[in-house]
Structure formats: structure tokens, C-alpha cells
């Protein structure tokens, strides 16, 4: 237990020492917020159902953070650790395998949460973002979404033979997800075909779920999203458990 806590702390410091990971998780969503916020402001408009650009975008940008930690960070770090023999070295100690993998989940979850809090604080302070949901419900939705993306990240790390392949696969999932899911550009402006395609992307369901919970929708309105995200979580965990290799 002492070992797990220390490992999480060290992994957290290591995360902050990778400038690109810290940028995409902590700074990039905030940059998007300021960019689109300065163009469109946050005036309520019928186009967004009586809400402003920032009100709708903030929960969507949270999904981008999950893409960064789930599709990129965790898959690249875990596959690099395997490739270089870091996992082997850890396995030669009394540390349990669950602790080794759990520390990665913990660090990336906390980083996702940190990126989210920074983003929400920016949106509130600068654009007076409106929030009509329940914090507890949003937190639960956030947690399910994050875990399901981290599970997909583990899946990538499990099937990729090298860290190069893992980072290519990660990017291959990351970019379509952030651009075609409504996370970066609101789905409201998508043509019909693109809107249907976006349904196959897991991030679309994160965006829908968080935007719904943001305005206080009941869970019942988001059964599809919950099922899809729980499905990704289960598939990710099951496939990783079967396919994961330590070396």
C-alpha cells in the first residue's frame, strides 16, 4: 500500500515532466476555450438551445482531456514501460501487478480531473459559464467516461507490439475523436452524414452525456451513452486482461 501511494506520487511527477502530455491535458483545452470564446463569446443563442458557446463547449472540451490521457498518455507510457523493461523491473519486486497498472489509472484519472477543474475554472471566471446540472451526477458521468477511455488506452497498449505502434494507434483514434465527435467543433454545425458517423466514436457519447448532465438532464435521457461507455469500459478491461503482456 505504501508502495502504491509512492508509485502514484512518482508517476504524477513523471507526468508533469513530460511537457507534451501536460500541455495536451492541462493547457490545450484552456487554449481552445479562449480561442473559441474570444470569437463567439458566451451569449445565449437559440442555435444552442438558449445557451452560449462556452456553456456548450466546456463539457465537450472535457472529453478532449479524456482523449489526451486515455488514448495518448496511458497507452504510450504503458507500452514504453513494457518495451524498455520498466515493467520487468517492477515485477522483480514484491509490488503486485494490480498496483503497477492501478498507479497508471490513478495518475491519469487525477490528471484528467485536474485538466477539467482548470478548464471549468477558466470558463466560469472569464465567460461566466452557466451550469444547471448536479455536481454529483456530472462527477459520476465524468468518472465513467474517464475510466472507459483509460480502458481503451490499456487496450491499445495491450495490442500494440511497440510503443511506436501504440502512439500511432493512439493518434489515429485521438484526432478523429476530437474533431468528429463534437468535442472541438459543435455537432450542431455538422452536416447529416458527419453527424451519423460521429455516433461510432466513443468521444461523441462522452460529449452527449456530459453536455446533458451539464444542463441537468436525468440519467434516463442518456441510456445510449451509458451503455456505449460501459461497453467500452468492459471490452477494454476484458481484452487488456487477456492480451496484456509484461514484456
Amino acid at each position: 500500500m505504501k508502495g502504491l501511494v509512492k508509485l502514484i506520487w512518482v508517476e504524477f511527477k513523471l507526468y508533469m515532466r513530460q511537457p507534451q502530455a501536460a500541455f495536451f491535458t492541462l493547457a490545450f483545452p484552456l487554449l481552445l476555450l479562449f480561442m473559441f470564446g474570444s470569437i463567439y463569446g458566451n451569449k445565449p443563442t437559440p442555435f444552442f438551445g438558449g445557451r452560449g458557446m462556452v456553456d456548450v463547449s466546456t463539457p465537450a472540451y472535457i472529453a478532449i482531456i479524456m482523449g489526451s490521457t486515455g488514448l495518448m498518455s496511458i497507452s504510450i507510457v504503458v507500452s514504453t514501460y513494457r518495451e524498455k523493461g520498466v515493467l520487468r523491473r517492477f515485477r522483480a519486486t514484491p509490488l503486485r501487478p494490480a498496483a503497477i497498472l492501478g498507479s497508471q489509472v490513478a495518475v491519469n484519472y487525477v490528471m484528467t480531473l485536474a485538466g477539467t477543474l482548470i478548464l471549468v475554472a477558466g470558463a466560469k471566471l472569464v465567460y461566466h459559464m452557466r451550469f444547471n446540472g448536479a455536481v454529483g451526477a456530472v462527477f459520476l458521468g465524468f468518472t465513467l467516461s474517464t475510466l472507459s477511455f483509460l480502458a481503451v488506452g490499456f487496450l491499445i497498449a495491450s495490442v500494440a507490439r511497440t510503443s511506436r505502434v501504440a502512439s500511432i494507434l493512439g493518434m489515429l483514434f485521438y484526432f478523429p475523436n476530437i474533431f468528429l465527435s463534437g468535442a472541438t467543433v459543435p455537432k450542431e454545425i455538422f452536416p447529416g452524414a458527419m453527424r451519423s458517423f460521429s455516433k461510432v466514436l466513443p468521444m461523441t457519447h462522452v460529449v452527449n452525456l456530459l453536455q446533458g448532465l451539464w444542463i441537468g438532464n436525468p440519467w434516463g435521457k442518456h441510456i445510449t451513452e451509458l451503455v456505449v461507455l460501459a461497453g467500452f469500459l468492459v471490452v477494454g478491461v476484458v481484452v487488456s486482461a487477456k492480451a496484456f503482456r509484461w514484456e
Binding site: L7, L14, T93
Partner: protein, 310 residues
């Protein structure tokens, strides 16, 4: 005293390849025990089975009375491991790695003194990726000692190090033994095994070909001693040396003379003969058979300094 390590009839195959084929031995407490052999001889497979990193197909292993497969976690509390292929995160600092690994154990040793003992105290704040090969090895040894283990496993500790760093490593290994620990190491440097180990196991193609102290291995070879000198006169006549008891042959190449023979008194007899002959000579030295010769005799292969048999 009971053995620190007991291995009986260890076997491991990878598909059609038999890596370890019925290996068995005992290592006593406080011993430096070396396993030598060319690359692919089965050294790493054996040591990884002992460490519990790999499961054997057959055979019985006891480390400190524990079975590495069944009591793996308990065993890892009490052994120290330096792996041949392993690494740490690039950006972890030396002190963080030690502090982290210490936290994995029930009874960690204080790690601050290890920095000094291993000569990496000035690298305390350095990141792993900025360390030299020798410094990384030192850090890995420190990590292997951080739980104050009873048995330390070192897999190809000095491969890739320069001769200076290699000698420094030998000193470290002796210091580990002097702290009362049992050391099990693998190497493909015969010289290393000869200088460092109390006993040496020579393995080739998964089988033990010899197991004894380096001195006895060399003595049992009954190899001949060679005496080499440079004759000071251009027309040196080697005939009197051929008559010396024990001498089997004398070769002259220019002013280099090589006398080959057997017997404990060979050197004295040859020098006396030279003196009686009033021959002037310089640079006289003797060449004793080494573990290299033992290895060649046992396996028919030659150990190459870069590892691997030719």
C-alpha cells in the same frame, strides 16, 4: 549451514529450443557463485527461473527454502535482483528511484548510504536518462540492495562496461559478499568469473559442463605452463632447454622463445638452465592456463571477449 540456493534437474524449453536441460547445483550462504557460458547457453533462463521471473518446465528450485513460483512475493522481499534487460522511466531521478523501490518492501534498508557506497551520491538529482551505462548499473545494484536482501542475483552485470568500470563493479560485488550476502551472478567473461567467484559453473547448450572453484577447474585441466622470454643474443641455441625435465617443446621465433612444459618446478629448472648456459634474456614471464582454456577444453568453443562462442 543450509544452502542458500538449491536447484534440481531444472528444465526449460522454448518451442523446439531447449534452453536449460537438467541443471542442478547448490550455492552456500556467503558464496559468490558464477555461471559462465556463451550467449544462448541458458544462463539468463536459469537465473530468471531462480528469481521467479520465469517458470521452469520441470525441476525443483529452493531459494532460502522458498519456491520462487509458489512463494514468489515472499521470496522477492528477501532477494535482490539486477536484470539483464530492464530500465527505469527516463525522467525519474536517482533518489526518487531508490526511495520508490524502498517503499515496495516490508523492511527496506536506508537508501541514502547506498548512494555513497556505490559512488553515485553526486548523481542524486540526475534523471535516469542522463546517467552513463556504468552509473545506470550502479543504480540497478543499489536498487537490488535496497531491501537488504539475503541473496543477490546479478545477470551480466558488467556487459557493455569499459574495463575500468568492470573492475570497479568487481570491487562492489566483493563488498556485497563481505556484507554477508550470497551472490549469484552470470557472465560471459571468463576473466570475471576467475577473479570474482568462489565457485564457477560452466554451462553450454543448457547443460553443466563443469562446476568447481576456478583454481581447481584450471588445475584439473592439467594444461601446460608456458614460459616466454626474449633472447638477448641473436643466435640463441635452445637445445639445452629441450633437455630440461618437464619441458615438452621449445619454439623460437626471431628472438622470442616459448618453452612449454609441466611440473611445479618447471620455471626454476628453466631459469637454472638458462643461467648454466650463461644465456642473456629479458622479459621472462609465465603464462598459466586460465578459465578460458578450461572453457575451450570443455566445450571445444572459444570464448570471445565480446561474448558468445565462436
Amino acid at each position: 549451514m543450509t544452502a542458500a540456493i538449491t536447484v534440481n534437474d531444472l528444465r526449460k524449453t522454448y518451442g523446439p529450443l531447449t534452453a536449460v536441460d537438467g541443471v542442478g547445483f547448490e550455492v552456500g550462504p556467503g558464496e559468490i557463485f558464477g555461471m559462465v557460458g556463451p550467449n544462448g547457453a541458458g544462463k539468463t533462463t536459469t537465473i530468471e527461473c531462480l528469481e521467479g521471473m520465469r517458470s521452469p518446465d520441470a525441476g525443483d528450485i529452493r531459494i532460502l527454502g522458498l519456491d520462487p513460483r509458489r512463494d514468489g512475493y515472499e521470496l522477492r522481499e528477501r532477494i535482490g535482483v539486477q536484470l539483464q534487460q530492464s530500465s527505469l522511466p527516463d525522467d525519474i531521478k536517482v533518489w526518487e528511484a531508490l526511495d520508490l523501490f524502498a517503499s515496495y518492501y516490508r523492511k527496506p534498508a536506508p537508501w541514502e548510504p547506498l548512494l555513497d557506497e556505490l559512488g553515485i551520491a553526486d548523481k542524486r538529482e540526475a534523471r535516469f536518462s542522463k546517467l552513463s551505462g556504468g552509473q545506470k548499473q550502479r543504480l540497478f545494484i543499489a536498487l537490488a540492495l535496497v531491501n537488504d536482501p539475503e541473496v543477490v542475483f546479478l545477470d551480466e552485470l558488467t556487459t557493455g562496461l569499459d574495463p575500468h568500470a568492470r573492475r570497479a563493479m568487481w570491487k562492489l560485488v566483493r563488498a556485497i559478499r563481505d556484507r554477508g550476502k550470497t551472490v549469484f551472478l552470470t557472465t560471459h567473461y571468463m576473466e570475471e568469473a576467475e577473479h570474482l567467484c568462489n565457485r564457477v559453473l560452466i554451462i553450454d547448450r543448457g547443460r553443466i559442463v563443469a562446476l568447481d572453484t576456478p583454481e581447481k577447474l584450471v588445475a584439473n585441466l592439467k594444461a601446460e605452463t608456458r614460459i616466454v622470454f626474449t633472447a638477448a643474443e641473436p643466435d640463441y641455441d635452445p637445445a639445452p632447454l629441450r633437455a630440461v625435465a618437464g619441458v615438452t617443446r621449445v619454439d623460437v621465433a626471431g628472438d622470442k622463445v616459448t618453452v612449454t612444459g609441466r611440473g611445479d618446478r618447471l620455471v626454476i629448472l628453466v631459469v637454472n638452465a638458462l643461467d648454466a648456459q650463461q644465456a642473456r634474456f629479458r622479459d621472462l614471464r609465465t603464462e598459466q592456463p586460465s578459465l578460458d582454456d578450461v572453457f575451450m577444453a570443455m566445450t571445444g568453443d572459444e570464448m570471445k571477449p565480446d561474448g558468445g562462442a565462436k
